[in-house]
Symmetry: C2
Subunit: 301 residues, 2 copies
């Protein structure tokens, strides 16, 4: 089933303690879309500037991502982000951000995308997420991401959004901020009480917690020894998750748990390189093989 | 099979953001021994002072723990610890420590304990751990705990200890300190290269990682909504683990992974009350029932 995603597409410069990548393709949208493309057809809605290099555009093609909703806007510049990771590779500082085209209106959703059944509303102002959500009346599953900025500055809109979506994905510090609860099991229950059928709390290297109206799921992260660049880990996790759900249509608790395992595995490949380099090399077969290894690592029967 | 443990037995005062417990039974030895007692016979070697209350002694009986190696030393005072937990319940400050009898020599290991097959060397100076280890020539499994202090001040002894034991249990910050590696998969491999067949890295609310010469295991923590007092979580985890291993004798990778699941479950009960209160109320049946719930939460097939 067709999956649609909105979000940022950018040009990143990433510094880690041992390496550096300049002007590489980045942004939540492309990490999500590339990850999801292993499972289903993916449509994107987003804008880049006239400076966006053609080799970055070619990456969308390589993953078979439909770019009818991608606008290369003349007179605008692409979103740019520069970040530096700390020694532990879990913490990072944003060195520079240029919003550029991200500060302008999103391009319109192409009419032929209105039949999208699986919708991922990447992190942006919750009022804009609500407006987008309403453009997909046939959606079977709508999941949103959010961030600290909107919890701080647009809480009423965010709470309204939560009544209009099926699932929310956010990280542990955001869950704490949204609910005032530091226990993630309790925090996730509070969020489900706000409206969505389920919430996924991402805990980075520690895995994730699912709270669903039918039960709880917890997944340790894949034990990755080779972490080159964590950028996009959360987005590729969400992409793998939504891609699998769109592929199977299994929206039960069990189906969502399995989707989180797939998200975990795709993210574990993503962090093995800068940008989309590692995801460009692998196939669904590699993902399934690693899923088996992962299942072996977590089983205790 | 008989399991023996050494370690501290103390009188704790614990403050959490919402409650306080004064002069309750604590110390790594009793948390470990009580947890292990659900699975196997447990022997302890340790000392308390003349101030040790008889109702605390009665707790050993309640769990069926053999106290032939427990000395109540006249003229000495019991180890005392006062701690305060932060709002998030994961961080704590030690408010006061009185070493008291812990600063004196350990009582001798009773002759009838020399046949112990499962040995847990709780955290103390690694030279003392080596000396203890040598008193159990028939041991099938020797596992040690350690702490930052010994990594800082007795590294040579600790490295020697690692060549004489089967397994090491430590927390993530200690693993980082011991190896200089912040990636826990890499850190755990470095530790296995130092001698033991396996290492278990405890990550508190995030679960644990097992690195064994035969493979890797990762377990998310039990999703606990009700955390009253985390004191003893790591010790009851280790006790559940060693208790299960002593019960089954299954020292394969699969057996050790299952032991970690049992440790996870016993620890999840322990944190539901101050001191040993919750463990005093439950049975093996409660543990097995929660293990099933936990298995459901982590499975994704």
């Amino acid at each position: 089933m067709s999956l649609i995603v909105t979000g940022s597409i950018g040009i990143d410069t990433v510094m880690t303690p041992t390496a550096r990548a300049e002007n590489v393709l980045g942004g939540s949208c492309i990490y999500f879309a590339a990850a999801a493309s292993f499972f289903t057809d993916v449509r994107v809605v987003g804008a880049v500037g006239e400076d966006f290099p053609s080799e970055h555009l070619a990456v969308f093609d390589r993953f078979g991502i439909c770019v009818r909703g991608l606008e290369q806007r003349q007179g605008s510049q692409t979103f740019r982000w520069t970040g530096r990771y700390h020694e532990n590779m879990n913490d990072r500082d944003t060195v520079e951000v240029q919003q550029n085209v991200l500060a302008e209106p999103l391009p319109p959703v192409p009419a032929e995308y209105a039949d999208s059944r699986y919708v991922f509303l990447a992190n942006t102002h919750p009022a804009a997420q609500i407006e987008l959500r309403d453009q997909f009346p046939q959606a079977s599953l709508v999941v949103a991401d959010t961030m600290d900025l909107w919890i701080d500055t647009a809480l009423a809109d965010l709470k309204l959004l939560l009544t209009k979506i099926d699932g929310l994905v956010l990280n542990d510090s955001e869950a704490r901020q949204l609910t005032g609860e530091s226990n993630m099991v309790v925090a996730s229950s509070r969020i489900v009480e706000m409206g969505p059928k389920f919430v996924v709390i991402k805990k980075g290297e520690h895995g994730c917690l699912l709270n669903h109206t039918d039960g709880i799921g917890v997944l340790h992260a894949f034990p990755a020894a080779n972490v080159v660049d964590p950028t996009g880990a959360g987005d590729s996790f969400a992409g793998g998750m939504m891609g699998y759900l769109a592929e199977t249509g299994n929206l039960t608790l069990a189906g969502i748990k399995r989707s989180l395992a797939y998200g975990t595995i795709v993210a574990s490949f993503n962090i093995e390189s800068f940008s989309l380099d590692r995801l460009s090399e692998i196939s669904r077969r590699d993902i399934d093989q690693r899923l088996d290894e992962y299942a072996d690592a977590v089983r205790f029967d």
